[in-house]
Symmetry: C2
Subunit: 340 residues, 2 copies
Amino acid sequence: MPLTLEDIAALSGTSRSTVSRVINGDHAVRETTRERVMTVLQSLNFQPNLAARGLAAGHTRVLGLVIPMGVSTIFTDPFFPMLIQGVSSACNACDYSVMLWLAEPEFERRTISKIFYNGLLDGVIVASMLTDDPIIEALGEGRLPFVLIGRNPSREQTCYVDVDNAQSSRQAVLHLLRLGRRRVATITGPQNMIGGIDRLQGYQTALRERGLPILPELVAEGDFTEMGGYIAMRQLLRARPDAVFAASDMMAIGALRALTEAGLRVPQDVSLVGFDDIPAAAHTAPPLTTVRQPTQRMGALAVETLIDRIENPTPEVCHLVLPAELMVRESCGTSLGLFH
Amino acid sequence: MPLTLEDIAALSGTSRSTVSRVINGDHAVRETTRERVMTVLQSLNFQPNLAARGLAAGHTRVLGLVIPMGVSTIFTDPFFPMLIQGVSSACNACDYSVMLWLAEPEFERRTISKIFYNGLLDGVIVASMLTDDPIIEALGEGRLPFVLIGRNPSREQTCYVDVDNAQSSRQAVLHLLRLGRRRVATITGPQNMIGGIDRLQGYQTALRERGLPILPELVAEGDFTEMGGYIAMRQLLRARPDAVFAASDMMAIGALRALTEAGLRVPQDVSLVGFDDIPAAAHTAPPLTTVRQPTQRMGALAVETLIDRIENPTPEVCHLVLPAELMVRESCGTSLGLFH
DNA sequence: CTGAAAGCGCTTACAG
DNA sequence: CTGAAAGCGCTTACAG
């Protein structure tokens, strides 16, 4: 049988209460007592039962990470692995654990609240991206602390961590315009996902700022996959763009394939810019210019924000928006190189 | 405050014990009582506190999934996302939850047992692959049920689920030989990972069966990444292979890049076969012949095996080895096409 | 600074 | 078939 506080107390000649205080770092314990208990604790490698602790203390130091599976990119894009890694390592650092929920789309509210209100979680991080996710709605009605990865337009009073999609997309497109490109197309993400919406908006803002029209034939919707990018690019080809801003690297890679197949050279004939800076982006031919998204950092910040909400009695609603950096590689060309 | 059994009991005119019995499906409850309680339960959407249940019952219905982060492929290869998905959805189906541990390599045994013996987990699935993982050793000394994804040569008395790496690799190489290829090279995985070892062994077996020598200059070690495959292929080029078996699709994609850069055509000059059948494999130019690994199925089987060990008093040590299927696409050529 | 005691919300023999 | 009671292993006022 595993040891209990009572065993440790007996072995160190003190009481269960004192052992508990030592374990929890209570300063109101005499130093000599503390040391005596510590010795026993360590020599037996004692692990307190977290279920019991949770029941008595009213919290578990366990966070939920919810990732809706409705998204086709979950296996093909390193975004989610990186996010999971960021969340996991921040939890480790804060001495929290993470329970993972890959939520199948057909989950209904009953299941959702069964999961969230069973007393095992102190809070939840939701990486939904979908603008109208029932999980977010269910959480919104409850009393469990939660923070979103990716803003949600319909609940601005909710905590979230996001990357500045609109601003960094705008910068990417401005970069293309600065290189002299005039027919800049875009392959958007799905328009029910916030990243898809905001990146398109950044594209539009950039064109408008430079007094250029937004032409429907230069805008095609993708689904964040390589195949989606390929298909969208073939459609865009008819409008003869001289540059393409793809809302994800996977789509940019698909677009590159379509361009190459069509006999067009990147960047000489068409400049190409992606979004994410996945590892593969540096190894395409030519290497892909892209917006580097601080994915792991977002995960870590979500954890820190959530823990603050959990441990802090009256925290502010907070919106953290991280900047993203344009990684200029060869696929966009240079203003020098372009016209030679 | 959340509801408790006592609340439900009061509302349905019965006792806490009976409510508990109804929730846990005890048949020794009169049907009319059961219905009365059920009505209250459902109308209030009652969720029992799992920490309390865990403490009282001695189990939590939570499984741990441990993935060591020492592996460079965790972000670039869909293997881990797929595995996680398989584990997660099998857990959902069995009404278990999963706690995720992305174990940083420097974790020492004290931390490991702190994690595993805190009473929150009924069992653990370890997707280690590393032949000498301290996590597996720590688990081996303890009393927590666990199963491995990927066999571990140093502990054959442990439960595991694996794909038949050796057999399916052998088949892939035999296929190349059948096409008339005679200088078949291989890009292996790391030789401290079981998949790397077993796939190399399959390659060697196939050559030996056909009476062909195993030439050191036709064997190069990679690290399961695209870049590793690229580097290994450049090295192999000096030995002028007419076919390459890469121990992962990501490495095959890197090899393809190296071959293309060297002006060699696939499959006309060099046949190429990968392993995994990741989504991208169908979209390379030419599409990649590869061994399809049932990754999600492995995750699901690991869950089922583990739950059986947890719930079954004296389960057998079991080794599940799944077959993998060769997906023939264009990158290996055909015996007809090859010589024209 | 420390211990005895109550209590967290369940499960499960035990008695009836 | 059902309820009163003990107990799971902790935390935390409370009293001293």
